[in-house]
Symmetry: C2
Subunit: 388 residues, 2 copies
């Protein structure tokens, strides 16, 4: 029986983690359950999975659910609450599926507590890869990827000669606007951007998928997760999202992981690794039915965010934090209708240009950098809206 | 330094094995070298690789090369000679790349001697899988696949949960006549049949590739090599021969091995396993350049040999020996211009129908079955030519 702390339980990955747990009640249990403020979604799940501890966004949400739950569930909140959930002594694994940079601290705490970590929170590695990986080495905590590309790479590295890896190849669907030229993106709506061809995901990540920033963040994650230099990480457009990523070895052999697009597979693999379990909720891939798999070069001029990410990754230090925070702020502004889709990229680029790199930022410097990058983006947006 | 006994040194796989050895003179050496009668091809290779022992087809070939080589090379011949080469005390690995059922005895001898065996000889497992695998279990000898599909499966099983394998999927190029309908095959020539779209191989295997008998034999090999029931072995037409085969797991995740078509990769992997080495002679796969990978259902009516192979495999006992021997005899007859391409399949089918299955044939019964199946095919061909 694996006992799980789940952060971000009501989000897309969180709910799918619970679906995996639901399929295997003899294998998995939820010890701690953290969500933000979506009480309506959370209550039935808490009743179903009966965690010992529940952590929520703030005191008022805590008060609201206290009345709804039996006295046996401990309810905590805020930053400390989420950390308490992450390091709960009765849990073996942390699945960190919160969105954004608030996912970082609980990860670090769980690493120090020696937990196995299933990481779905991109920002943890993007903004603090140097801290996270160093502390994981020290504590011996295992970090297992939960998203589909890194899980594919992780699966394709098992039992293989790690010293003979020559390249990681991340596949990218190309997102909602793959087949449109840049000029055609000027007036796209939020609804357009959220119509992803293959994956059903949260709004932020769907937009990131359309700008390829998502792939850029994944390149930085892969750099840290697998200890690969940026020169050895490539991306390729693969519109069917069937080949989830590949590892090339020095003998020119490639190992790849394939399957129909489903987050359930990488989530479950992180929970069962190195074993596997049946997964009845997912469908078998039938290559004969799919018929054709397409691969295509990424046009980096069409998708400038990918180049920005490589550049931020290579420069290192606090640059990836700026990349991520500026992007979060810009996407948020787009999703709230304040800027156009094509404004996202120049805002991120401007934030990177504006920033003075800190070489080895500690947690505090990362937080400060994050805050300043968001502030910069907000200020730019305001300037522009006043100007217009 | 791995010391190698190489059987079938002047054939296609043999020469490619030597090419791998040539690239890594610090890693590999040839201890024993067996070939048939192609003295012209063999002599320069013997001079280059300086084996301790050379085995040839018969006494007269032995006499011919004795005069050409220095006194330090031991020269042996015939069945005993090949076995002596296979079990040479100074060799660690046997690469068995002889064609046809004469490859069986040396494999068994090497298994008993506890050698690691790189198996490129299909007939060994097809005709005597039950004997070979049982003896390998007893002696602890490792059997590593050398052909591209089984190597792909073997690579895709590394580090994975063997108890969670749900299916092996062998890819098939479809061979020289993939895009022709059955009716269009009536008058095809030997030259047509030998024009394989992706792989440069020997004549026999190229014809087997066009009838899909090659895939059928591989299904039987996979059954023995990986201990999988026939219900869990599938085939799919994949005309680019880039995805060399796949393994499906119970969580609907698939692991696959990919690369440009080259036998050098599986040959070298069998020699370096579980490590990998650079392989400069091969080219890097560039998926963006390939662009498209196609997958298509195998039409078993179009390719009856595949169904015959599944049936022979499922029935078991001496049936796969009949399948293989009848096919060898029929393909030989086609390649010598005595029968038409479309005569191959009915001859194999007739031989299978004619045969009375022996449930657990020993080596002698396998040899006898092999002989009788060939005799049956020859007789049928004669009958027909007399009749016509």
């Amino acid at each position: 029986m694996k006992r799980i702390s789940l952060l971000g339980a009501t989000g897309s990955i969180g709910r799918q983690t619970l679906a995996v747990v639901r399929e295997h009640p003899d294998q998995f249990a939820i010890t701690a359950f953290a969500f933000g403020e979506n009480v309506e979604a959370a209550l039935p799940l808490i009743r179903e999975f009966k965690p010992i501890l529940v952590s929520v966004k703030n005191k008022s949400v805590a008060e609201r659910i206290k009345n709804e739950l039996s006295g046996r569930t401990k309810i905590v909140y805020g930053r400390e609450g989420m950390i308490e959930a992450a390091v709960h002594p009765d849990s073996d694994v942390l699945i960190n599926a919160v969105l954004g940079s608030i996912g970082l601290e609980p990860t670090l705490a769980a690493i120090e507590a020696g937990k196995t970590i299933g990481l779905a929170n991109k920002e943890t590695l993007v903004t603090a890869g140097h801290l996270v990986m160093e502390r994981a080495r020290q504590s011996g905590a295992e970090i297992l990827p939960v998203d589909s590309e890194h899980s594919a790479i992780f699966q394709s590295l098992q039992g293989q000669d790690r010293s003979a890896v020559s390249r990681l190849i991340l596949t990218a669907s190309g997102g909602s606007f793959r087949d449109r030229r840049r000029e055609e993106l000027a007036g796209v709506t939020i609804a357009d951007a959220l119509r992803h061809p293959n994956w059903s995901m949260g709004a932020k990540i769907t937009v990131d998928s359309a700008t390829l920033m998502n792939k850029g963040l994944e390149v930085i994650e892969a750099h840290w997760l697998f200890g690969m230099s940026y020169d050895k990480i490539d991306t390729v457009i693969h519109k069917e999202s069937i080949v989830h990523s590949l590892v090339e070895y020095t003998d020119h052999s490639l190992i790849a992981q394939l399957g129909l697009p489903s987050m359930l597979v990488p989530i479950q693999y992180a929970l069962t690794y190195p074993k596997r379990l049946e997964l009845k909720q997912t469908k078998r891939l039938n290559l004969e039915e799919i018929g054709t798999l397409h691969f295509q070069k990424v046009d980096k001029r069409r998708f400038p965010c990918l180049s920005l990410a490589y550049e931020a990754g290579r420069t290192g230090g606090s640059m990836p934090t700026v990349l991520n925070a500026a992007n979060e702020a810009a996407v948020e502004a787009f999703l709230s209708g304040r800027i156009a889709f094509l404004d996202i990229e120049p805002l991120v680029e401007a934030a990177l240009e504006h920033h003075q790199r800190i070489k080895k930022p500690d947690l505090r410097a990362i937080e400060e950098t994050d805050r300043l990058a968001r502030y910069f983006v907000e200020t730019e947006i305001e300037k522009k809206s006043r100007g217009g």
